[in-house]
Symmetry: C2
Subunit: 370 residues, 2 copies
């Protein structure tokens, strides 16, 4: 019979990433009930710590009991109603997925289309928003996981402050690794996942909703199409005085998130951001020596995820598979127009360390016959 003995991979793809041994150990902590007062202390602590990592005062800041995609669904479904207009910035796979969510919510989509590998010009977004002042939301991806592009948000955030349109941001490949600055930028709805910058296992999706977003939620004419992800019901369980039973929380995942967040705040956000930048700077230097070429546009490369064409003699897909099988190192393959052409190299959470770059480069050198 098959046994549970997975190989010990170095996970340098777009996620999940490796996690701290203390987080793995937290997963093995004996269970409590989901209404146990001692468990509710963990919930409260997780909300507090998530607010710090999101850099927000938003009361409604909590981990959804599903993966990042569930957080994405929660973000769109809670604020959109059939017939609403949604401005969606689309320059990669996850921008496209945003359109799918808005479409399933019955929204009319105004697409701001960008090129894969490029950031979208904020001026173009603001121009579109001027043409559609009735838009319910404007959605952007902070780090497009398919391209490794980090999208500037500040100008759009500043434009939307004081306007009715909500600013919805995907912080999946960002939270815990680069500043997300919810309040400073003026983001109203944001989601992320547990398994990248936060360095916990996959399975939870932290979300945050601003006061302005919650007003939109509270003024809905129709029920949210997902009961499981209905933020008003979740808010009652997470923040209500009575902690009204909604669903049976994934206890162990919340233990892991607790430990991962504790480690993040112990390191300090600023230190952590600098560590991620330092690790990727080392990666850039080593990739440059070996003839890798960047896929993401210069000036817009996310420290969390580096997308590169492999050099001559190292065909992207066969080399990626060999890297996994012979060296136990995972990097991501390309998606969409970049399928089969690039590597996506993630340096997130505990993995943001030059020593991991050195391991990857050693494998590259060996594959190159050196």
């Amino acid at each position: 019979m098959l046994e549970l003995n997975p190989p010990h991979r170095l996970l340098l793809g777009p996620g999940p990433c490796n996690v701290h041994y203390q987080v793995l150990r937290a997963m093995a902590t004996p269970l409590m009930g989901h209404l146990d007062p001692r468990y509710i202390e963990i919930m409260d602590a997780n909300m507090d710590m998530l607010r710090k990592v999101f850099q927000t005062e938003n009361q409604i800041t909590l981990p959804i009991s599903g993966t990042g995609s569930a957080g994405m669904e929660a973000a769109f479904y809670n604020v959109l109603e059939p017939g609403d207009k949604a401005v969606i910035c689309h320059a990669g796979f996850f921008g496209g997925r945003m359109m799918e969510f808005a479409s399933r919510a019955g929204a009319e989509i105004v697409e701001v289309k960008g090129e894969w590998g490029q950031a979208i010009d904020p001026a173009q977004v603001i121009e579109t928003l001027k043409q559609h002042p009735d838009a319910k939301l404007c959605a952007m991806v902070l780090v497009e996981t398919s391209t490794g592009v980090q999208q500037p948000l500040d100008e759009v955030g500043a434009y939307l402050k004081g306007r009715d349109t909500l600013f919805l941001v995907d912080a999946v490949s960002a939270l815990g690794a680069i500043p997300v600055r919810i309040d400073e930028v003026g983001i109203d709805v944001c989601y992320s996942c547990s398994q990248k910058g936060l360095a916990a296992p996959s399975g939870l999706a932290p979300v945050t909703f601003s006061v302005k977003a919650m007003q939109v939620v509270n003024n809905r004419k129709t029920k949210v199409q997902s009961w499981y992800l209905d933020i008003s019901l979740l808010a009652k369980y997470w923040t209500g005085e009575k902690r009204a039973y909604h669903h049976t929380a994934p206890i162990s995942m919340n233990y892991a998130l607790f430990e991962a967040l504790r480690i993040i705040l112990d390191e300090g956000l600023q230190n952590r951001f600098e560590r991620h930048q330092a690790a990727v700077n080392y990666l850039y230097a080593e990739l440059g020596k070996r003839g890798f070429k960047y896929y993401a546009a210069e000036g817009f490369r996310a420290p969390t995820l580096t997308t590169v064409y492999t050099p001559e003699g190292l065909e992207a897909e066969p080399a990626r598979i060999r890297l996994l099988n012979d060296f136990n190192i995972e990097v991501g393959s390309g998606l969409g127009p970049a399928a089969g052409k690039i590597w996506r190299i993630g340096l997130m959470g505990v993995n943001a360390d030059p020593q991991n770059v050195a391991r990857l480069m050693a494998a590259v050198d060996i594959m190159n016959g050196q």
Copy 2:
């Protein structure tokens, strides 16, 4: 700062329950990528083992990446479209929740209402189905977690075989502890959770869809209102030749499920069912000696969850709280009309053991001043 040091509870409520130390250990296993061929082996094994526990040949048998409530949402949303007719059997909190899901799916609901604490007469259900041969589904709860009633399914299952109406069953407080017999009963759509009879942590929702149910899914006129729970997309990731990326699976939870299912099949389903029955028989005997009175009707008491009025001198709610605080034993409180009046005592998974009954009775005796 708060530390992760939860008390070591004996979880004899409706779930989550305690899990085997091997399952906790599995949670701490280093991560793999969600598209890693070695992880896909785990996915295949989990599907195979779930089929055995569900007692079905259904190809589409997999764990949804959310808690039992997500499985419930997946079950209803994948087969219902706006305007469809849904016959819902409602004799407790979770029957009521089924109506909420059907309602959010835009269905016209035909309610078969029963009393809390009683089973619903199958003849009444069949009579309703005869009046509504155009119903898209008939939904029943096998074990109503709010009342501890085990609902007979066979007659309704037999009636629906060969008819267009789908048979949808909630097996949340049942799977892995009592026979669910998907194929034999003729159940088309069924969902459960990981944290009760399966004895894994909460966070996954096993579901199974029959060929007949998948035909209904494939003939939909509208997209499923949840992208995250869209069973056609999930089927491509779980069973497709290309394992098309859908979402980043909760890897550690699937490790835990793997280990929990392996333990179940190692024990043997029949042995496991008998162990659950033996444990609850011991509980019945001990409760009887102490003057507890049953809430669920005789002949319909689920072995997994026993609902009782506490004896004179032992007020349900204060005693439940004292049980938790002074004895580290969790039992469930009542819901709905039974709120504050009863205990719900779960003996599921590893907890289905007379020694746990003995621990609970010792605490009861001490609280009774003996």
